[in-house]
Amino acid sequence: MQFSSLRSRAVLISLILILVVSLNLFSSSVRNFFYSLTSPALSFFWEKGSGGESETELLRSQVHSLVQRLVSLEGTEEENEQLRKALNLKIPEKFEFLETHILARDPGEDSILIDVGEKQGVKSGMPVITPSSVLIGKVGEVLEDFSKVLLVSHPEVSFDGKVVGKDISGLVKGNGRFGAAFSLVSKEKSLEKGDIVVTTKLGLVFPENLLVGEVQSLSSNPADPFQSATLFLLSEQENLGLFFVITTVK
């Protein structure tokens, strides 16, 4: 048989397209099977690409850990003050988590592939963080042995955030292409370049005080009652490949 005309080519493409579209009926199994086959190679490529844990990356991670401690201390300070006022003890938050490794990163969709899935107890919506408590994103599609994580920069990800050490809160929203914005901030508040944005409990999307990003540039439209800022996501500096999926917040 010869594909002698564009009509034949179009027919061939249509037939294969119908076959491919029908894979949507069991897409999870197909993807899981294919990822299982290619995960050793993906893991190998990822390690080669990241060049292992370089000194710079370790130092960055330590800086984030220290900032996280600072955030925790400030949180504790505020909490102590509230406790003094209310004379009521509060149990600090603790996480139960699963250790996971990144296999691949899709640059077109602001998502990453990790090596834990339904079998290990991962569910859609669970937060993913680095060892230094920098927020990576939340679990999107869950397969049997793998999961896709929507990064903070993914356009579908939005949550409430606040500025460390200031009474400023707003909405963090992914802009795509590894960018995010901090918007709906009251114009009366003094938002500044370099401010660190962390998560809040509001909306119950993420646990509070996870590091998100640093204010990079401010924008304010006179007609807009709010100001907004572009965030530099701290997760972009963390390239260690080891992450944690928070399964339970106690």
């Binding site: 048989m1 010869q2 594909f3 002698s4 005309s5 564009l6 009509r7 034949s8 080519r9 179009a10 061939l12 493409i13 294969i16 397209l17 491919v20 579209v21 894979l23 949507n24 897409s27 197909v30 993807r31 294919f34 290619t38 190679a41 993906l42 893991s43 490529f45 990822w46 080669k48 690409g49 990241s50 060049g51 296999l103 691949a104 990163r105 899709d106 640059p107 077109g108 969709e109 998502s111 592939l113 999107g140 599609e141 896709k148 390239n239």
Partner: protein, 124 residues
Amino acid sequence: MASSKHLSTISFMEYDAPSFSFGSFFKTALVLFIVFTFLIMAQISFLAHFTVFGFVPHVVLFLYILIHIFEKPTSGLGTVSALVAGILLDLYSSKPFGFYTALLSAGSLAITIIKSYYVRFPHF
């Protein structure tokens, strides 16, 4: 051949595109599947660490375009590469199956039509 007819007298479906057989289709598809699988794995796990002017190089798309520019009219390589690259991108994507296959196949048909009527590249 269509090139001997006047453009306005034929529809694109009547245009006699270069032929390729089922046998060569599967052979080409297998080779391209291996090449594109390697490239896509390298892209999402290795090249994801590097950026050129803020963009991660899309080697799959780059090869797809190269094939379409330099393919011999008789090879049918463009159509096969569109299908194989589309299926592989669908496998690694969060989008529904068929999204990239449809996109790249449509692109392939469009490039074939444009090349057939308006462009003449030297073939090596």
